[in-house]
């Protein structure tokens, strides 16, 4: 009897995590449904319109400026984070000795552990003024500096996960390459990278999801002006920075402007969920092959 009670109690704790997901989906679905049933809102406009002005008198609900802003910042972050992260992963798994690897990984973990509000401060008060000395027309709030700093935020994620994938490539493959007279460079590029490919892609996708959902760097450094542009010098707004803006302003609960926040959050949730699922599927495939 006591044994059963313990088992049920432990199981309940595990189900709390499932309940969390259900609650997230329920909250988002309810408010998003309420948003779309409002006579001022149309689903078609939401996905095709190019103006996002829920906090103004003349309200338009086209999410594309927020999507453009999000993907502009994320793209800059990926341009920085992916090559640097993969290169650093190659160094960690193929060149560094195990003690060096452990230490460098530890320090990279510190970089990953810096709170994003601190990174936002750094982007706004250090990176932007520095960039302004040689990039004319760079706004005080801009996508470029937020993206650059975010690139260094995702670098440790990519570096750590991709090096794990490379380390688990069996040594027999490398030795076979050397046996055929390949140089270390050949072995890394033609054997290790292709063999670890799905693991590396999984790491990149996970980092992408993290960048899309990142809030404080963009809120502090990229601004809150939803315009449809791909100019990295411009002030923009992302999905996450709009959520902060709408939630910290004084929109009454239940108003259309407040509900638009939930619609944006739903889009954000779906995008990150899909990215995570793809990443996990890739990791599984990679594991099946080598472990």
């Amino acid at each position: 009897m006591r044994e059963r009670l313990v088992a049920v109690a432990l199981g309940a704790a595990a189900w709390v995590t499932v309940l969390t997901t259900i609650a997230v989906v329920a909250v988002l679905a309810r408010e998003t449904f309420a948003f779309f049933t409002d006579p001022l809102v149309s689903v078609v406009e939401f996905f095709t319109g190019d103006r996002w002005t829920p906090l103004f008198l003349d309200k338009h609900f086209g999410i594309s400026p927020l999507l453009a802003g999000t993907f502009l910042v994320t793209a800059i972050a990926m341009l920085v984070g992916v090559p640097l992260g993969i290169a650093s992963a190659i160094y960690l798994s193929e060149y560094a000795t195990p003690p060096v690897r452990r230490r460098v990984k530890g320090v990279l973990e510190l970089l990953a552990g810096i709170p994003t509000v601190v990174l936002g401060y750094f982007a706004l008060l250090f990176v932007t003024p520095w960039l302004q000395t040689f990039i004319p027309g760079l706004k005080l709030f801009n996508a470029l500096s937020a993206g650059l700093v975010m690139g260094f935020m995702i670098l440790p994620i990519i570096s750590s996960l991709a090096s794990d994938a490379m380390i688990s490539v069996p040594n027999s493959l490398r030795e076979a390459g050397y046996g055929l007279g390949a140089s270390k460079l050949d072995v890394v590029i033609k054997i290790v990278l292709p063999a670890a490919f799905s693991g590396i892609v999984a790491a990149v996708i996970l980092a992408f999801a993290r960048a899309v959902g990142e809030t404080m760097i963009v809120t502090l450094a990229a601004g809150q002006r939803p315009i449809l542009t791909l100019d990295p010098r411009e002030t923009i707004a992302t999905m996450t920075s709009f959520i902060v803006q709408a939630a910290t302003g004084d929109q009454p609960a239940g108003s259309l402007a407040a509900r638009s926040l939930y619609a944006v959050a739903s889009v954000l949730f779906v995008i990150t969920l899909l990215l995570n699922l793809v990443s996990q599927a890739l990791v599984r495939r990679f594991r099946e092959r080598y472990e």
Binding site: A7, L10, A87, P115, M216, L220, V244, T248, Q280
Partner: protein
């Protein structure tokens, strides 16, 4: 056919190409820390509202009562008689008001002289503010341009008094007390909620559940939860804890929200720790007639405890640095008092830093950087403890 030397040269080039990004990441980390530290000190040209005097270290320092000593010196310099000063310091209410509006600071430099005590006031008039390095370069010019009644301070924003002061509209006397205490409250409650929940879920998944669809669902769900952006947890907390459960914007709502945020991290760390406990130990316990729960709680859990604690500390560090979800569930920039219970209104360090960075007054950037130094120290402490535990109790089975 490439020659051997060309091949070696390419190899070296590639080595440099993969080493550079790692060094670059370390350089960015160093730049960030130096920038934050540098921003917490600034050169300021000030027209003091008080006497404008400064006092040498020896004049002001007392083993007990430095604050009172410097205040006496300052008030005397303002021309108040000894009786008036005694009366002010004896009256606790007047003393409190004086402390809230004035600050006893050991300036790194006053005009040309190093290390002087100054009583600054929220009514001091700031003429200009210069960054540490830029100001040091222009120091001579700034000194030459000082008008009568103006002083050049090398002001260190992060001093001991910042921990004791409340937030303020005036950057000079804005303090960290409510944010620091709020962060400690939230941290303690997150540990109380997330650790039992996470550990129990991990024990269930590793020791109890069979490989059924339910176990797989929980598993997939956990991995997805770990990838949900933190701001979405803020929306969940707002809808469920703040509004539906009517907790309002209080410490408990923040702790519950952040607990849900870190539970997946705790579970994943705890599962790894539990999985590392060798089966032979379980079987030995079963062989002695132990029940399933006895094996779980008396054999597996103690053996995995140090790794679990390490994982928990890292998860808590994440919660302490979180800003976005708390902005949504109503951590305020200004709170009426210090949090005293789970149902108090609150603010936390990252939210306080965020609101300071958003201020128009450039002086708040210095206060923000002082806050960041404190936040990073708290995190460093947590990481240090986790690292130490990992070292001390690391076991190979």
């Amino acid at each position: 056919m490439t020659t051997a030397s060309a091949r070696r040269a390419r190899g070296r080039l590639f080595y440099a190409a993969v080493l550079t990004p790692t060094l670059l990441a370390l350089a960015v980390l160093a730049a960030l820390v130096l920038d934050v530290l540098g921003d917490s000190v600034s050169w300021q040209v000030v027209e003091p509202a008080g006497s404008g005097s400064s006092f040498s270290v020896a004049e002001g320092f007392r083993f007990t009562g430095t604050w009172e000593r410097v205040v006496r010196l300052e008030l005397a310099a303002r021309g108040e008689s000894a009786e008036e000063v005694d009366a002010l310091l004896a009256n606790s209410e007047e003393r409190r008001i004086f402390a809230a509006r004035n600050r006893v600071e050991l300036m790194w430099a006053v005009d040309g002289q190093p290390l002087r005590w100054v009583v600054t006031s929220s009514r001091d008039k700031l003429i200009s503010d210069h960054a540490l390095v830029a100001g040091a370069r222009e120091r001579k010019a700034l000194l030459a341009e000082l008008r009568p009644g103006q002083h050049l301070y090398l002001n260190q924003w992060l001093d001991g008094s910042i921990f004791g002061r409340n937030t303020s509209r005036s950057p000079l006397v804005a303090g960290l007390a409510p944010a620091l205490l709020g962060s400690l409250w939230v941290m303690a409650l997150v540990i109380l909620i997330a650790v039992p929940l996470g550990a129990a879920a991990a024990i269930y998944l590793e020791e109890y559940s069979q490989d059924t669809w339910a176990a797989r669902a929980i598993e997939v769900n956990l991995r997805n939860l770990a990838g949900v952006p933190s701001i979405v947890y803020g929306i969940l907390g707002l809808a469920v804890f703040v509004r539906f459960m009517r907790l309002g914007p209080v410490v408990l709502a923040a702790a519950l929200t952040l607990a849900l945020l870190v539970v997946p991290v705790v579970v994943i760390a705890a599962r790894e720790a539990i999985r590392a406990v060798p089966d032979s130990m379980r079987q030995a316990a079963y062989g002695l007639g132990a029940t399933k729960s006895q094996v779980a709680f008396r054999v597996v859990l103690p053996a995995a405890l140090s790794s679990i604690v390490t994982g928990v500390i890292l998860a808590v560090a994440r919660a302490v640095g979180e800003t976005a979800p708390l902005l949504l569930i109503g951590a305020a920039a200004f709170v009426p008092g210090l949090p005293s219970s789970p149902m108090s209104q609150y603010t936390v360090l990252p939210v306080q830093i965020y609101s300071w960075v958003g201020e128009n007054n450039p002086e708040f950037a210095h206060v923000a950087s002082a806050g960041i130094v404190v936040l990073l120290c708290v995190l460093a402490l947590l990481y240090g403890v986790a690292f130490w535990l990992r070292r001390k109790f690391e076991r190979r089975w």
